[in-house]
Amino acid sequence: MNAGRKIKIGFIPLADAASLFVAVDKGFAAAEGLDVELVREVSWSNIRDRLAIGHYDAAHLLAPMAIASTLGLSHVKLPVAGVFNLALNGNAITVSPDLYARLRDVSQGDLADPSVSARALKAVIADRDERNAEPLTFGMTFPFSTHNYQLRYWMAEGGIDPDRDIRLVVLPPSYMVDNLAKGQVDGFCVGAPWNAVAADKGVGVILHPGCAIFNPAPEKTLALRAQFAERDPGLVEALIRACLKAADFVKANENTNEVAALLARPNRVGVEPEALRRTLDGRLGAGVESKDYLLFGDRANGRPDRRQAAWLFAQMLRWGQAKFSPDQLRVVENVFTPMFFDAAAGVALQTDTQPIAAFAGSAFEDIESYLSTFAIGARC
């Protein structure tokens, strides 16, 4: 047997990289003739830069980052192909027990409803303003991330301007829990398993799973340099096939314990298996449960979708991270090209994937009219 084709993939230790871990550790990648080396990284910026200079052939990447890198919004302009949705959803908004108690005091309705909690947060902020207290601080993982957009969307629906009324800070996912415990942040939006970890340690209360803010949100994409992907479509398709098989394995209930143990290894996510098991089951604890909590990209929802790319672009526009032009929109849509997926899956799916829907606000049709419906935003 020939030695597999060597490829190197960078990842951030998060549960939503499970398909990559399983593809390697359960031999699905090898069966596709791939000899994959997974490299654990400490920052999204490193992953982006190492992908750019060819240290990595592929990466577990924040879906909005694939778009931002392609447009050169973060000072590194790198055309990226997001060839497969590794995961959708999977984040949650968690707040400190103190803030949760305050929200409960002022809330008018069920806090599990994001409209209610956002208005309660607005009331808490107004009260702090009156007392000249420091603004509340929320952590998120990167400026170009669904975490950032989920926090902002949620808050803005309650009448909060996230650029004026609170502080948003970037923190590495693994530092979130510690920062919440030490009072450096009052809440955060982060991926799995860190919300469950915060709840287990009693330092945070999970307020909403990300899918309660918008659903289904493309979370992590399998990203390659666009040029590299175009030159070697066979390799890309083999990688997607390996991930599809891995996703089926991850999702099979009888494998949950094994997958949780595999994720728990120190060279993967490196936390207690119990929090990971609950994550895989969609049980976040404290009654927060959703079958959509963390979706692993499969034949149905792993297909990159141009509309989802446009939707993410709209969030960037809303918060002043990008400028609109029809040309840019075309570039953005092409980042999530379904070409490789369709070839790998062997069928061209006729139906479009489910459109992204938020808990409030207008439906997404045309970008400009969509954006005009929001009162709060920093469009430039």
């Binding site: 400490v42 920052s43 999204w44 910026s45 993982t141 650029d163 502080r167 800070v169 970037v170 693994s174």
Partner: protein, 190 residues
């Protein structure tokens, strides 16, 4: 020119700082503890920020690119597309630089080159230190095994060493490995 070094390794930061001072950059500050990183960076208000790539706080610095009311000056990363050799060298060495817009490229290039060579020097030092440590460990192991052989087989020190060396050569292993086996075996037989 004000320069900030964000590095959790105090030794590496000191090596870099020394290099920068020698090159005439005297206004250098080191941030070792990354809590409230952005706040501290804004307070120092540097023209150049150097950060090691093992530092998870690097993503925090990326926030400075964002158009936001909190940010006073836009900061750009030096490693732009036109200079892929520099990007490669700095990422290989494990360092990244962020600079304030408008600084002359030649000046920054010399600083980045200095960073790369100091980071590489530190890595070399680290490797040598690791090797020295493991050499010392090996010598200790061999000495212990020698003692065991001398006692058990009534050998001189020289004879005990030669015996181990002979076995190591025959089995094409390192003397330290043979010595470790002797120690393990003698502990089992205690």
């Amino acid at each position: 020119m004000k320069i900030v070094i964000v590095d959790e390794s105090p030794i590496r930061a000191a090596i870099l700082e020394e290099g920068l001072r020698e090159a005439g950059f005297c206004d250098v500050e080191h941030i070792a503890e990354t809590r409230n990183l952005l706040k501290r960076v804004y307070a120092i208000d540097p023209e150049i920020i150097l950060i090691d790539l093992e530092n998870p706080s690097r993503d925090e610095l990326e926030q400075m690119f964002q158009v936001s009311r909190a940010v006073r000056r836009p900061v750009a990363m030096f490693v732009d597309q036109s200079d892929s050799a520099s990007i490669q060298a700095s990422v290989d060495a494990g360092v990244s630089a962020y600079i304030v817009d408008g600084l002359k490229k030649e000046r920054i290039k010399s600083i980045l080159d200095l960073c790369v060579s100091r980071f590489n020097a530190f890595a070399k030092l680290q490797t040598e230190l690791d090797r020295a440590k493991s050499d010392l460990e090996e010598r200790k192991t061999i000495d212990r095994a020698k003692g065991i052989l001398m006692k058990a087989k009534k050998l001189s020190e020289d004879e005990a060493y030669k015996l181990m060396r002979g076995v190591a050569m025959r089995e094409s292993k390192k003397i330290a490995e043979i010595a470790q086996s002797i120690i393990t075996a003698s502990e089992l037989l205690k």
